[in-house]
Symmetry: C2
Subunit: 138 residues, 2 copies
DNA sequence: GCCTAAATGAAAACCCGTTTCAATTACCAT
DNA sequence: ATGGTAATTGAAACGGGTTTTCATTTAGGC
């Protein structure tokens, strides 16, 4: 996610470019670990003082709908967010430092097609997340 | 998940076989859709009157740790649970009726190995969920 | 049938996230 | 530039789901 991408995309969809939104975008772009809403809130405040937590939640929803942010689902809970660096990709999360890296989604079409054939389901979306330890944490 | 499997496994791990736990196990075994904790609570009460919601949460955690239950992660939220019918498998969820079907985890080793090579991460676990429409809901 | 540690339920506490609403502000048209 | 307008915002109240606390009960080994 580049800052330019996000601002363009916001504009294209008719959303206003407010300082608050740009602050949230910047926080996410500069983070390489997953963040909770209140972490985004804290960091965003340094960029845009007066930013409200409510706005953080609203903006995370917005960016999530536009595909710039993805929720991270962990055993401990599902209230973390990470920037999407690779569209059509997925997240690989480090258990140690919470770093999040994107990897491309390849080699799943066979599995999905096979599942469609065996179950009759029309598969519309999928969610894949890998969890492990990054080189530094091993 | 068969009832026998679950009781055996509970015993093996030194957990007591209480009526409350067996009720939760039975509710999950007989459900073919994902259930929230309070749905498990309601149904479990019919089997074991006096069952408490707190116990339902604790038992879901327990069974989840033993691999008999898996959380279902949806856009609407992550507070649903479904029985694991196929170990080493994953969940396929119907958007219409919430039915959950298991499918085997095959064809992911290549993707994981490739990711390991490219990122250096030691991948320890993965979570895959497919979402779509079942034959009846299409 | 005891004994003891584990398990339970009710109530309170907690926490995350949403709604409400009046005030502000970005952006378009002039 | 300026003004008008609908979108956006923040504070506070609210809501619901989940966890903690703690006294009581109970399963399972002796």
């Amino acid at each position: 996610m580049t800052e330019g991408d996000a601002t363009t995309e916001l504009r294209v969809h008719g959303y206003k470019l407010t300082g608050q939104r740009l602050a949230v975008v910047r926080v996410l772009r500069e983070a390489d670990e997953h963040l909770t809403a209140s972490q985004v809130f804290e960091r965003g405040r340094r960029i845009h003082p007066g930013l409200g937590l409510t706005t953080v939640y609203r903006t995370l929803d917005l960016l999530s709908g536009l595909g710039f942010v993805r929720r991270v689902h962990l055993d401990e809970g599902c209230q973390a967010y990470a920037p999407v660096r690779e569209r059509e990709g997925h997240h690989l999360v480090c258990q140690g430092c919470h770093r999040v890296v994107d990897f491309p989604c390849t080699g799943l079409t066979g599995l999905i097609e096979e599942t469609r054939r065996r179950t009759g389901f029309a598969v519309e979306s999928h969610f894949l997340e890998l969890v492990g330890l990054c080189p530094a944490c091993q």
